[in-house]
């Protein structure tokens, strides 16, 4: 197990390195001059050159990457003299539009996205899985049909429709959200109630989409597992239906859902662009979309992209470890 972990961890590290290199490489060859973006329309060549030097963009790309990696571990200084600016480790760079260390921007946005992702995850997993189990147990009865209807609605409604509908016709209509304060970040440690009110509707919007997928997936897995020979064996032993479901069917049927859930959660941690946009949540999704569409803020894009990749890679690792714990066949094979 330790050996397996060590191998997986080093592979993870390698993948993260490769991802960061390729993202860095892509930005290096983009037909866009980051230095020119640092000042407005009436910008003179000397100023651009000075900024280019200040931001460390005047050296070859591999040196830039080296500095970037070094900055991740020890922090980084930009510019000299009075204009000098220090970003502490882990430094992803300096946003020349927001005039702020990228790490600071990310650190501000991350708790928002984390709150959004965790809440939505809990909601969709509990609703999706229990609805799926119910539909499987009551196959072809009205409960199953109701669940199927829910799945159809959930999967066919894009978040930009369901989000706006819920915002307009539920949240604002019944004064459940203060339109002025909408999306204001409140730490759950300071004011759990306000935090909950900020996030409950975004959670519902995201959960609606994901729960539908999980309902369908759980339903078909439970139905399929129910026909396995070992379920018949469990019944032949004299186990009651509740224990057969709880101990035998669900253990096997829900194992693949862990993979799906881990990856979906990680994907969401990278930022839910549309949902954050609709509910004005200052999370990673909005940070990225603003950096991409408005500011051409390359260091920020770099940071959010790498971060999203890291989330997915780490989630993959955790899912694999968890899976080995659940399925003894995987454990021994490794």
């Amino acid at each position: 197990m330790l050996k397996y972990l060590a191998r997986r961890l080093s592979a993870t590290f390698l993948v993260i390195t490769l991802v960061s290199m390729s993202v860095f490489g892509i930005f290096a060859v983009l037909p866009m001059d980051p230095a020119a973006l640092t000042c407005g329309k009436a910008c003179s060549a000397p100023v651009i050159e000075a900024n280019r030097h200040r931001l460390g963009l005047d050296v070859p790309v591999q040196v830039q990457y080296g500095r970037f990696v070094k900055g991740l571990f020890v922090g980084r200084d930009f510019g000299e003299g009075a204009a000098a600016f220090h970003c502490p480790a882990p430094a992803f760079g300096y946003s020349y539009n927001r005039h702020e260390c990228v790490t600071t921007l990310v650190a501000e946005a991350f708790p928002v996205t984390l709150s959004l992702a965790v809440g939505a995850f809990v909601l969709w997993l509990s609703v999706g899985v229990s609805l799926g189990i119910l539909a499987a147990r009551r196959k072809n009865e009205w409960q199953d049909r109701a669940a199927t209807a829910f799945v159809l609605i959930g999967t066919s409604l894009p978040t930009f429709i369901s989000g706006i509908l819920i915002l307009l016709f539920v949240a604002l209509k019944f004064n459940l959200i203060n339109p002025i304060e909408m999306g204001r970040w409140v730490s759950p440690l300071e004011d759990p109630v306000a935090w909950f009110r900020t996030f409950i509707f975004p959670w519902i919007v995201l959960a609606l989409l994901y729960a539908a997928t999980y309902t369908r997936f759980t339903r078909s897995n439970v139905i399929e597992t129910s026909t396995e020979d070992y379920i018949r064996t469990a019944r032949a032993k004299g186990l009651n239906e509740r224990d057969i479901l709880r101990k035998h069917t669900l253990r096997a049927a829900l194992a693949p859902i862990i993979t799906l859930a881990g990856l979906d959660f990680a994907g969401l941690l990278g930022g839910a662009i549309i949902t954050e946009g609709i509910f004005n949540l200052p999370g990673l999704g909005r940070l990225s979309i603003r950096a991409v569409l408005r500011d051409y803020d390359l260091p920020t894009i770099l940071a959010t992209t790498i971060l999203a990749a890291v989330f997915v890679i780490v989630a993959n690792l955790l899912v694999d470890i968890l899976y080995a714990y659940i399925d003894p066949r995987v454990r021994v094979a490794s």
Partner: protein
């Protein structure tokens, strides 16, 4: 045998409603098995062998199956009809009064739980006591069915066992609560030939050890000859012949049984002739043909007068003492048919 039978099945019918119509999988089945007795049920796939025993075990989904008739378990506390009894009552008999092992030991054990866990689970359903006591009993049973190093292997998982060893585990699990009836549904079909006889031997030993009634479902007539006291030959959902193993082997009284026995290759006659197969396919179990179900494949039906085979379904009649056959031919005609078709 004068033993009071442990299981008495009377006029059991099992049918599955489908979109195409009602599939009559088991048709008017009656038989008995006593403790210490072995009943072999022989027939090709789809002849209703498993369906009948699953009905006795109460393992059919009651919502999707129509079951009529009776199946009495003669327990010490009195007889219980497992067909009409409450599902919960039947559940509490499973694993305790009656147990079942299945064809494919590769898929019959839960891949996520250790062997010990699965055995202890079965044990704790009917025994008071902590996990340690259950584990002790599990090791005892594994030892009994011939798992070497049982105290160590009890913590291993199914995929770490070979097919034969898994079937031993299944047997240990089925017997852990000392049942009075064991139904073995093709227990050796999925195993290597070399392992088959070991498992069969083990089942016989266990039958003696626990003094169980044993129903052995198989399509392997070699298996039947070795172990059975009585044999039921099934065809298209019906018992077509029933008798002692000797009767079925040496004096088969149904053209189907005669055909089955003739289709076994005989050592020493390897180059003398081709294998004899029964021509044709069994009929669909939806809308069974009028008359005898086997008529279309029977080489002797033209010997019955008045085209009786096509119009009237034969009943299970006594041909000789304690030997029943569902055929319009008389015993004399059957003896002749036996001789003509290879001189069994």
């Amino acid at each position: 045998m004068t033993l009071k039978p442990f299981l008495e099945v009377k006029n059991l019918n099992v049918a599955f409603p489908t979109e195409d119509g009602l599939v009559q999988a088991s048709n008017d089945i009656s038989f008995t098995v006593a403790r210490g007795e072995t009943l072999a049920v022989v027939g090709e796939s789809g002849s209703g062998k498993s369906v009948t025993s699953l009905a006795v075990m109460g393992l059919h989904d009651r919502k999707r199956t129509q079951i009529t008739g009776q199946a009495f378990l003669n327990l010490e506390s009195g007889p219980v009809d497992v067909i009409s009894a409450d599902a919960e009552v039947v559940r509490k008999l499973r694993g305790k009064a009656m147990s079942m092992i299945f064809q494919d030991p590769m898929s019959a054990l839960h891949p996520y739980y250790s062997i010990g866990n699965q055995l202890i689970e079965a044990w704790s359903l009917y025994n008071e006591g902590d996990k340690a006591a259950g584990k002790k009993r599990a090791i005892e049973m594994l030892d009994l069915v011939g798992i070497p190093d049982a105290s160590k292997r009890v913590d291993e998982f199914p995929h770490q066992f070979s097919g034969g060893m898994r079937q031993r585990v299944m047997i240990a699990m089925a017997l852990i609560n000392n049942p009075s009836l064991l139904i073995a549904d093709e227990p050796t079909t999925a195993l290597d030939v070399t392992v088959q006889s070991q498992i069969l031997q083990l089942i016989r030993e266990m039958q003696k050890e626990f003094n169980m009634a044993l129903i052995l479902i198989t399509h392997d007539l070699g298996v039947v000859a070795e172990v059975a006291d009585r044999v039921n030959v099934m065809y298209a959902g019906k018992i077509v012949e029933s008798g002692s193993a000797e009767d079925i082997y040496y004096r088969p009284d149904h053209p189907y049984s005669i055909g089955l026995l003739n289709s076994i290759p005989k050592i020493g006659e390897l180059d003398s002739k081709r294998l004899v197969a029964i021509p044709g396919q069994p009929p669909s179990l939806i809308n069974l043909p009028r008359g005898c179900s086997f008529r279309a494949r029977c080489s002797f039906s033209d010997r019955v007068a008045n085209n009786l085979c096509a119009t009237t379904a034969p009943t299970l009649d006594t041909k000789t003492t304690d030997h029943f056959s569902r055929c319009h031919l008389t015993e004399a005609e059957l003896v002749k048919a036996r001789k003509e078709s290879g001189g069994i």
